[in-house]
């Protein structure tokens, strides 16, 4: 191992720019993974990604990432939330034990593009008739609903899907009509808006309301068709990808390396069996089998990891390592070790394997990206881990939802770019290590 | 087959042979770039070689003898730092020739080479016969005429003609070496450089090949330049000896002189370290190690190990010429 340290410690790193670039890239991903695991703990990430009622209510659907704003002069609309309890509430006692409650939900709208959706949520015990009206900055009042019964608990009023309202606004979709500037209906009117909820309810009853104006852009990563913030998966894709890539590489490459050493040294039947199993493995359609098992039995990432390792132990790398060990086996220092009584095990693990370890390193690093992409491939084929958010999953969702047709390029490009960068990072290191350690290359 | 421009008719025996020395080398230098600095492999070598004379280039490993041969044949690696000096072959300075002219006139037509590692000097995927005949095919000779010539040279070096149709891996080490010697003779060059031709072979095979080379030397009146660290074997062919040390020529003298009583102190020590079978003399060893070639010591490079060192040795001695002996040592300043 001395030689390995000799290379890494001294200034060799500067002589190989691609090695430095690769190390930086991979380091960034490690930092990203740590940040992801720390900022969104595992159980939280799983819960968020599973979604479900109420988790992503306040998030717009298919919103582009915030940095889109940089490319346009005008301000793209963002999500505005007036939460429960934030409204100004006035109560007026009425006869026969009832009271009239009025809740004002003010917000200011300072954007140049229309919001993409509008919804109101109410939390009540029992309300007979409620009236909701929309107050625009230039004083216009548009009544949204009149005398509607709101049933118990939590209800959602999807303003932007209200057909009656749509006709009332001369056919413009509500989330545009309500904001349209009377003079120029193509542009939204900036200023203070108010949503007013009036209702008569029993003294003991309660009424609270919340308004969400869904913006066109949201968050660093944008959102997907289930309103989920993509940042969760973009962040968590890093640790999953790294873990899968590195563990699979360790499992597959290192075991192939050791088995090749053992097989070549012991020779005879063992060597022939290993060689033959490698030939069969070469013919085995690995991915289809993975997919079949994924569909029939279980898709958890750990089963997949175990399978990928099992199917790659006798991979083609066995042939390359075997030819290297065959040459090494005849060298003088091995014969010397036998001469002073070293046994088979000692010769394999103290003399054979350490000699070729430096050539294992580049191969190991080069194989990591192929496993990272294998995980992505499985996810794209709908076989990703059912609960874990990964980059492959985003690409799969984007592809099945026709992101390319709908022009939601960010949805596919962001995970693909991250996958690419991680792959390239490892490959950069692998190729430069190959140049440093490959004995044959140094003679050129 | 690359189209080679029409060659002047083969040197018919009758054309007037150049009268002067076959080969004259002046101030030949060859330096390489290595990771830790510039290696001065060949530094200012001068010598002359008459026609028909075989010269042995002797010296320990790393003394620059192979680089000297490479410099003459212009087989230069990529990391060249300096390549200068004059090499007169039959009167013309071949150093000045363009790469195209050099390749066309000199390579294998005037000077050919038998390289050190015969084991992999034959292309594994081409038949041996084709490779041997290739130089003639390049000179636009007909296929069967070229193969007939190949059969002839195989006969000279003692390889059965059937091997023409075989591949390199089907031949034993000795056979491969003979095939390469045949290849070197096929375009009947003026000089053949033999770089450690038999060091990898067994004693009997080596003796057989040396016998073949002696016969060729007599029959074809060829010049051999034999490069080897095995001094005893060199005496099988050598008429003259060039002794190299740390990239410099230290002695050039006749064989009788060099093998019996060499002039330069290093040559004396070298001869003393050669074991002999028939003469009962215990070999000695030379203390110390040869200097590194990328910052050689000032003055005479053998001084630190020399048993006859004196104050003049701080300064680098020139090559003193006495009759047909030249030696680079202050001891012979006014002989």
């Amino acid at each position: 191992m001395g030689k390995l340290w000799a290379w890494l410690k001294i200034k060799e790193l500067r002589r190989y720019p691609s090695l430095a670039a690769g190390v930086i890239l991979v380091f960034l991903f490690v930092v990203l993974s740590l940040y992801a695991v720390v900022s969104i703990p595992y159980s939280e990430a799983v819960r968020l990604w599973r979604g479900g009622p109420g988790v992503w209510d306040d998030y717009p659907r298919n919103a582009e990432p915030v940095w889109f704003d940089l490319f346009t002069r005008d301000q793209l609309s963002r999500t505005i939330v007036v939460p429960f309890g934030a409204g100004l509430k006035t109560e007026e006692p009425l006869a026969n034990g009832m009271k009239r409650v009025e809740t004002l939900l003010p917000f200011s709208f300072e954007y140049d593009t229309f919001p993409v959706e509008l919804s109101m949520f109410t939390l009540t015990t029992e309300v007979t008739n409620a009236t909701v009206s929309w107050h625009t900055p230039d004083g216009r009042i548009i009544t949204l609903i009149e005398g509607r019964r709101l049933n118990r608990g939590r209800t959602t009023y999807y303003i932007s899907q209200d057909e009656l309202l749509k006709n009332q606004l001369e056919g413009m979709a509500p989330h545009r009509g309500l904001f349209a500037d009377p003079e120029d209906r193509g542009k939204p009117l900036r200023g203070e808006y108010q949503l007013v909820v009036e209702a008569e309810l029993g003294d003991a009853d309660e009424l609270d309301a919340k308004l969400v104006v869904y913006g066109q852009i949201h968050g660093l990563g944008g959102t997907d068709h289930n309103k989920r913030d993509l940042m969760v998966a973009l962040l968590w894709g890093a640790p999953v990808g790294l873990m899968f890539g590195i563990l699979a590489a360790i499992g597959a490459q290192v075991s192939t390396f050791v088995l090749a050493g053992v097989g070549t040294w012991l020779g005879g039947k063992i060597d022939r069996v290993f060689q033959w199993v490698t030939q069969v493995n070469l013919i085995l359609p690995v991915l289809p089998i993975l997919i079949m098992i994924g569909h029939f039995y279980s898709r958890s990432i750990w089963t997949m990891l175990g399978l990928v390792i099992a199917l790659n132990v006798f991979s083609a790398a066995m042939l390359t390592y075997r030819s290297m060990f065959l040459q090494l086996k005849e060298s003088a220092y091995i014969e010397a070790a036998q001469a002073y009584g070293a046994g088979d095990a000692r010769i394999i693990f103290r003399y054979l394997l350490p000699k070729l370890a430096p050539t294992l390193l580049p191969q190991f690093v080069l194989v990591v990206p192929s496993f990272v992409f294998l995980e992505a491939t499985l996810s794209v084929l709908g076989l990703g881990d059912p609960i874990l958010p990964t980059w492959g999953k985003i690409i799969n969702d984007a592809y099945t939802q026709g992101a390319l047709y709908k022009g939601l390029y960010y949805w596919i490009v962001q995970p693909a770019a991250l996958l690419m960068l991680m792959g390239v990072g490892f490959a950069l290191i692998g190729f430069s290590l190959d140049r440093i350690f490959n004995p044959r290359l140094r003679t050129v | 087959m690359s189209a080679r421009t029409e060659k002047s008719p083969k040197r018919a025996g009758a054309s007037a042979r150049f009268q002067g020395p076959l080969l004259r080398v002046e101030e030949l230098c060859l330096h390489f770039h290595a990771s830790y600095g510039v290696v001065r492999a060949v530094e200012g070598v001068d010598f002359e070689l008459a026609r028909g004379q075989t010269v042995a280039v002797l010296g320990e490993s790393g003394c620059g003898k192979t680089s000297l041969a490479r410099a003459i044949l212009r087989l230069l690696p990529r990391n060249i730092a300096r390549y200068s000096g004059k090499v007169f072959l039959e009167g013309t300075d071949i150093m000045k020739l363009s790469e195209e002219r050099f390749r066309h006139d000199i390579r294998w037509n005037k000077i050919s080479m038998v390289s050190q590692s015969a084991m992999n000097s034959l292309n594994p995927v081409l038949k041996v016969g084709y490779q041997v005949a290739e130089p003639l095919l390049l000179n636009h000779m007909g296929k069967d005429q070229a193969f007939e010539r190949a059969r002839q040279v195989f006969g000279i070096v003692g390889v059965p003609p059937a091997f023409l149709d075989r591949y390199a891996f089907e031949l034993s080490g000795g056979m491969r070496q003979r095939a390469i010697i045949a290849m070197a003779l096929i375009a009947d060059p003026v000089m053949v450089i033999l770089d450690e031709p038999t060091s990898a072979l067994d004693v009997l095979t080596q003796a057989n090949i040396m016998n073949a080379l002696k016969r060729i030397k007599q029959e074809l009146n060829l010049n051999f330049m034999l490069i080897t660290h095995d001094i005893a074997t060199s005496s099988e062919l050598a008429d003259e000896v060039l002794c190299m040390y740390a990239g410099q020529l230290v002695e050039h003298s006749k064989a009788e002189r060099f093998y019996r009583e060499p002039l330069h102190p290093y040559a004396q020590k070298l001869m003393a370290s050669v074991p002999t079978l028939r003469v009962d003399k215990k070999p000695e060893f030379i203390t110390g190690q040869p200097p590194s070639l990328f910052n050689p010591p000032e003055g005479c490079r053998f001084a630190p190990r020399c048993h006859k060192r004196f104050d003049r040795c701080q300064e680098e001695p020139p090559l003193f010429v006495h009759g047909d002996e030249t030696v680079k040592c202050w001891l012979y300043e006014n002989r």
Binding site: A336, G341 | V203, R215, I231, S273, P275
Partner: protein
Amino acid sequence: MENNTLLSIKNLQTYFELKRWGFLSAGFVKAVDGVSFELAKGESVTIVGESGSGKTTLLRTIMGLAKPTGGEMVFDGRRLNGERGQMGRDTRWLRSQVGFVQQDPYGALPSFMNVRRILREPLIVNKVKKEEQEHRVRESMEEVRLIPADDFLPKFPHMLSGGQQQRLVIARAIILHPMLIAADEPVSMLDASVRVEILELIGRIQRDHNLAVIYVTHDLSSVRYFSQRAFVMYAAKMVEKADVREIVNNPLHPYTQVLLNAIPDPDAQNATRFRDVPPGEPPSLINPPAGCRFHPRCQHIIEGLCDEEEPPEFEPEPHHFVECWLYK
């Protein structure tokens, strides 16, 4: 009288089975075919022969690296090719008693271990107590003049010169205090000037510790001053055994005569004289020629005898043995 024979070998055979397609037996390579000799403690001897003569296989068999398939080998009074179980313990004991010096010094040293580690390995393998290991390492470096030891201990093989590497190989060979040093072409890779230095080093160690040494080489002239006796091997048989001086000055077996005649001395006359060397190449060891194996290339062939019956060992002169019908 304490028995002075270290090693006695009678009719030793080492065959390798040739396999075709991995399981079909396709005959045997008879690398060592009926070799006998005795070696005294502290005696040094040279085995000379061309490649393919079986000299290296003989050495490996003596060291316990190759399994003998016939004949008898007794090392320091212990019979060696016993039954199954016995075999394993014997081989390990034998290997600790024989130090091995190889041809290519750089190849013989693991490039990823430093000098201290290289020297400690044989001690660890043979379970030498920890405290004694450091002492043994320094003692063996002293022996081969790799001093001051502390300069060399942290170094890696690629940081040493050719001569220093070979010294380290020798240090490793003697660190287990063996009774025999097996040297396979110990100096043929080194330059003439360094060669003699190493041979003298081995000679001194041999004298100081009364070690026996077996040199295996094709170049008799460099080793002749460092061994008392010389054995000549041809096609897996030992054709001549005698004192070195006798072999050099009075070779009896036709092959030895031809072999010595082929080795040149540095002399300008060589360029004019042709050496008479037998044609052809050494025979195959899979099915060697009948009778005396040299008969196809021998000038003194006796028809009907040399080409039919294998010559036994004759002793035409005291302590000078030769396997040739000429001396019947």
